[in-house]
Symmetry: C2
Subunit: 189 residues, 2 copies
């Protein structure tokens, strides 16, 4: 739920976060940039942490488009490519990296990050439910683990290593997690 001009408020919130960091984010600043009365914003969100949580969850800037390509491999490659775009292409990248970086430093944002990733996983689980119905997953495969491996690899490679993702990154990461990287014992001929 959001007031009229919700997207303007969310965009202003994320833009200020990216420009000034969480320390520099204020409800006053959001009001000024979005042209919405400060009192209105406070009526909906009692704190800047609550406002940021809503913006991360509902802004179109960070929206993922849950894929349905017909195969688990295709869906996961699409998700990895979307996560990669979020973390590397402005303006989403500036926002996503600033927000997640801030979550590390500000205990009151830990809950915001948790909720953000829980929301994402709820959408991603549909990919795994369809894959399960198609018999594409081994028994006991854990969607959260698969997403942590894939999304974590994108974060580590782009943000911490500061390396570009090669064109084949999504396909190779998904191949590793779906097909494994260990050589199988030779099958009897």
């Amino acid at each position: 739920m959001a007031p009229r001009k919700g997207q303007e408020i969310f965009s202003a919130t994320l833009a200020l976060l990216a420009e000034k960091g969480y320390e520099g984010l204020t409800v006053e600043g959001v009001a000024e940039r979005s042209g919405v009365n400060k009192t209105t914003i406070y009526r909906w969100w009692p704190s800047k942490a609550a406002l940021l949580a809503a913006a991360l969850a509902e802004s179109e800037v960070l929206a993922l488009d849950p894929p349905d390509t017909g195969s688990l491999r295709g869906d996961l490659e699409s998700l990895v490519a979307q996560i990669a775009a979020l973390l590397t292409r402005p303006p989403a990248a500036d926002v996503a990296v600033a927000a997640l970086g801030a979550a590390v430093h500000h205990p009151e944002l830990a809950e915001v990050a948790r909720r953000f990733f829980a929301d994402r996983l709820a959408g991603e689980k549909r990919v795994f439910e369809r894959a399960g119905r198609r018999g594409e997953l081994v028994d006991g495969a854990d969607p959260m683990l698969v997403m942590d491996l894939l999304a974590g690899a994108v974060w580590l490679r782009t943000v911490f290593r500061g390396l570009p993702l090669g064109e084949d990154f999504a396909a190779e990461a998904v191949r590793a997690v779906l097909d494994g990287t260990a050589r199988r014992p030779a099958e009897p001929a």
Copy 2:
């Protein structure tokens, strides 16, 4: 290379980083806490970024013990468990999370993070070289990708989701990456 009392300087650097963040880290503070003259510290490291890079690379607090268990699976499980401990057990966790979080916000630390992960990978590659000689890896398996998947998953689960790692996390994450999570086509009987 480091002056006498190098470990004291590194410990003081990392402790101050964890307590006060990168903004609050100063060479003066490190000198005071380690009992080493400020001029000596500056002679070795011209900036606090350089000092932090050296501390991350050489402090015993963050040291990984390159495993050699006799199998790729055992070595990777040991590495995941060590990375998990680094990111969840104080005092290493406070330092590691503060340092990596700071790298997101401070462009001059991006190079520090890059070097830290490159150093780690150089050590981890020995695990993959031995695995290659034992024939445990599929052709073309990429050590950096495997480590990004595994270390990235630990980061995402513990720092961003704020969830504890179950007892089986290392074994399950390694199983996913080595054996895959996709069901294989039934083999002809």
